[in-house]
Symmetry: C2
């Protein structure tokens, strides 16, 4: 079996090529919209959600072209959420992955539309016959993705996140729910996608669901930890950007050491959930350790 | 047969009740998001797109509950587009149907998220088994709606509209394409929805498609005419708000009289397209005349 960095690089190459193929070109007036959409997904990124689609699909011997299309749809959806999150009214981020954010490179109106069109494109890709021969499989993918995005998913999580500065007491239970909605729901969709496409058993579906739910949470908390550590390195503040913004995170509530222990526990749980699978699930196991700095 | 005002009122009652049923409630932190979504679709509106879904479905004896769900999905989608169009970075509208626009009643971030979540909800409703027993029908609805919304639909049209102030020459051909994308595509989806659900013939599908394409264009141009006439009544300016904004419209290019003649021609074409249907299509015919002021 290939090592993780090779598999990650392979996944990036395949999903990026697929996204380019799926975003049809135009030379007409609305070209600016295509450019903003393309700009936003070509700014790099780990393509972790596509990786989950790809390697959950491999467990069920799903056709690689079908898996690549679903992986691209997930990344289109993720890209929309990043564009809108960066807007001045939201996180007001001038840069994303070291490049100007979409609204800085283009303008706010174009960024709003690019996000909207990327969400629609994700559903368009999932619904096309090329994605899966069985319409019942395609509609199940659409249904699960729409649930992962809407009020009970990413959008709901982002709403809580925005409100969290005003909430007096954001305890561990509430922060867990926030991150579960904002991050884990998309991880979960990406991981069960393989089981849906491959018509896996209920047991295998739930194994991937539970894996992704815990991994998503661990991934998000690791992000918070990295924020704090970056700030500590800068020697300018020891509590992290989100704490400065007034946002409660696991780190601000539990402290660094207990948070690290919590991440480690979540990753153990995530990997335990995969025990129904053989070594074909190793890329998922290794990704969970790698992206949460739990490799040793 | 009931008269048009009665049918319109019936449609509003059914679709509003269905939307309330489909937008699940919560008492959790993200309640603000639900409130913004509900606020935005309860500000009134003609529910013209749901009317097209309802009465195209009646042509094929589609189950009324199924039609009501698709009608609600279309109105959720339409509501998302209105919320985002009103944003400061877009049309910067403080009011919508006489009430504060979503971002004025709540805030910009909430309005962006409410639009995003309404788009996802539209697809979630279409993909649910309750909407149609046949997954192939549901996925076709999702596919057509996603195409009507994305870069080659509403979002593309809105992008051209925003850019139109900068375009030196916006001729009738380009304005037609803009309105076709921005308005007709959603009209078209709403009208072919009945044929898709009722598994109508290709001929009936195309009849509804052609009807809606012409009606959508006529409807949008009527809106431009009303803008001009409202301004003329105010005696403060004779060329209309969009002309003031630098946007080219049919009225600014053709003048009022020739524009009226053009609308009349489009409505005739729309109604001609329906000749394959009997008097069951009368509500569609009457709506096309009524909403374009071509009743006499």
């Amino acid at each position: 079996m290939s090592d993780l960095p090779t598999l990650l690089a392979e996944c990036i190459a395949v999903v990026d090529e697929t996204m380019d193929m799926l975003l049809s070109r135009t030379k007409d007036t609305e070209m600016r919209l295509f450019e903003a959409m393309r700009y936003s997904y070509t700014t790099g990124g780990k393509r972790l959600r596509p990786f989950l689609v790809t390697h959950s699909s491999a467990l069920f011997s799903v056709d690689k072209n079908c898996a690549a299309r679903v992986a691209a749809a997930v990344e289109f959806m993720h890209t929309y959420s990043l564009i809108h999150d960066d807007l001045p009214a939201m996180d007001n981020a001038d840069t994303r992955r070291g490049k100007p954010s979409c609204h800085r490179q283009f303008d706010e109106a174009t960024a709003i539309l690019a996000g909207d069109a990327l969400q629609a494109l994700a559903f368009e890709v999932l619904s096309a016959p090329e994605t899966h021969v069985d319409p019942a499989v395609r509609i199940e993918l659409v249904r699960k993705l729409s649930q992962a995005v809407g009020v009970n998913g990413m959008c709901g999580g982002q709403m809580i996140d925005l409100l969290s500065e005003r909430i007096d007491e954001l305890n561990i239970s509430k922060i867990t729910r926030l991150q579960y909605l904002k991050t884990s729901k998309m991880f979960t969709f990406s991981s069960v996608a393989g089981s849906i496409m491959g018509k896996g058993s209920y047991r295998s579906y739930m194994a991937l669901h539970d894996f992704a739910q815990e991994f998503g949470l661990a991934f998000q908390i690791t992000d918070d930890l990295l924020d704090v550590e970056a700030d500590q390195k800068k020697l300018c503040n020891a509590i992290g950007q989100d704490a400065v913004d007034g946002k409660a995170t696991f780190v601000s509530v539990l402290g660094v050491e207990r948070t690290r222990a919590h991440v480690s526990l979540l990753v153990d749980n995530a990997i335990s959930a995969l025990e129904v699978f053989d070594e074909l699930a190793n890329p998922l196991r290794e990704a969970a350790r790698y992206f949460t700095n739990c490799t040793n």
